[in-house]
Subunit: 351 residues, 2 copies
Amino acid sequence: MNMELSGRGKPTTDKAQRLQARNNPEHSAVGIGLNAAIVAVLDNEPVVLVVRNDADSAGATDVLPFGPFNPREHRTLEGGLRAWVRDQTGLDLGYAEQLYTFADRGRHAEPGDIIPHVVSIGYLALTEANAKSDLTNGAWRSWYQYFPWEDWRRGRPDIIAADIEPRLKMWAERPSPATTPQRPIARADRARMCFGLDGTAWDEEKVLERYELLYEAGLIEEALRDGRSAAQAWTERPKLGHAMPSDHRRILATAIGRTRAKIKYRPVVFELMPPEFTLYELQKTVEAILGPHLHKQNFRRLVEGAGLVEPTGDMKNRTGGRPAKLFKFRREVLLERPAPGVRVSAPPNRA
Amino acid sequence: MNMELSGRGKPTTDKAQRLQARNNPEHSAVGIGLNAAIVAVLDNEPVVLVVRNDADSAGATDVLPFGPFNPREHRTLEGGLRAWVRDQTGLDLGYAEQLYTFADRGRHAEPGDIIPHVVSIGYLALTEANAKSDLTNGAWRSWYQYFPWEDWRRGRPDIIAADIEPRLKMWAERPSPATTPQRPIARADRARMCFGLDGTAWDEEKVLERYELLYEAGLIEEALRDGRSAAQAWTERPKLGHAMPSDHRRILATAIGRTRAKIKYRPVVFELMPPEFTLYELQKTVEAILGPHLHKQNFRRLVEGAGLVEPTGDMKNRTGGRPAKLFKFRREVLLERPAPGVRVSAPPNRA
DNA sequence: TGACATATGCTCGAAAAGAGCACATGTCAG
DNA sequence: CTGACATGTGCTCTTTTCGAGCATATGTCA
């Protein structure tokens, strides 16, 4: 497994391990992997950091940065994460939060692998991607490259009506396999709720639900790769976004959904912004993440009224229009409001 | 590289494991533990399931149910959880969700343990606690027993003004140690925001933040046990809630916070209710979890208006007052609204 | 110099939320 | 039997928040 990352601890001795395996049937030693979805906004495009994975048997592919967690070396999961992210990419993480721990499928040992890498803990990190960031490795990729159906900045993305909706409808008409008998919600209803079909409102936070629905319906490469039975019959049509190895795309989906949710009640947008910015830039960043266009005047009222920002006194001149006041994040808001964030509710129906 | 993708290999042998351990210094095998905070509401009291832990060297104590995760046996984390919860307690879990993965402190190996149990994945489960539930083991305990400062049902709990506030103020006046130099928010401000001191509003969702603040200030037993330096000078006064071994109380704090947050945008209350209930019972359950008293008429308007419930047609007669209509959860709401829940906003200032 | 892009202030109406009044219909103690 | 009491239920009223539009200011740039 993952070799490029390194960890430097010494392994447990074989003897102890054998004993353990033999004497204590309750324990099963496994490796812990940490995956990071490192998100930034670059020229109004939300991007995620990927690294080249040359060791992949199927040729080099882009993966989320990942590495092992070695409890002998690092006291905390986050500490371990920061360490190898810095080693691997040269990046010093600022804000980071745990997303989810995945162990469910596709995480099998390779031949020769003794300690299967069954569990991986996903992290979300938000960072400012300025030009002079010293990336030693890896590249920024638009997250919409992996999730084209999530990009509503220019209206409802065509891929939904063209590729997703018809195939989901077909899938919905086929009978559910007996293995999921108690599934309480019909396939058609799930598709409708997830993708806002038939006039249902689009909920931008349901990123993971949408991904998992497409997976279950066998419409994305990962499903085929993992041997989902439903996937077999669907292999020949346009792929839906770039696939990623393992469950990296699932982790990314979780990261996008969490970012979209959190931006509304925590001032995390500012992790993505330079220290000074105009309100327009701030709005564009929020829109890059959430999708829809916001009413400019209301956005100003909201952000200023909530005390999220304060003017620096300076102006930005080369805006292409009237010069804009520069603002900075008003940290004190954390001491005033319990849940400060960019409270943008979705318009009544964007479907 | 990333091996986790890939194929489904058969489990490896001891020999292979030795090789692996020797040749691949990148991995450190650890045990995975699963912890469950199983929550119910019993007679308007939110309760959590605890089991007796006789193995504790300091005598028997109550702990959250926990067990190992064995990837050879269970394909999914949740599957493993459900299996040993049933074995251990006789309970069949309904709703369950992952909370957080803890690996940070207090998770030391016991003597004789070869593979330290470093990582534990916390789960939240919600269930209905009816009288005839077949608990073979364990007991329901009010969660406010572990977090008395969270119980606002009879107004602001005295323990805050009597024990917590003065000690936090003293803590705030002592200088922060150099080990946390970049701490951006002053101790006094953190205490004020967490516990709603000096007129600041109480945010019922900040359960974990409050617990961690008390831990950091050395005011709870776990801090002393874990050897926090700050704890040494504080050992002789009334304890703040019942302590739990390891980080079980932290997991419970996470569970309470998550439950309080989620109840507002997902119809999870109904996991705690019998199939039929009156609106008053529903309100009491919500209040047991969230704390404050809600305006009865508005609660009705809210719940009915959101389409969360529908009348069964029957009445409940022995209510002590006018007979009440019986309602049941209206599942179809999941197909109509993106985020249905009991939308109770806090009154402007409850401090 | 004028088209254009951006910034900024103000108003209006709809919807949601908080809070109170009034009354209906049961139980239960005396 | 009767009245205190507890609960259920309908309605109104005010305040706040939010979506949306109008109008105007002040820059850049062809």
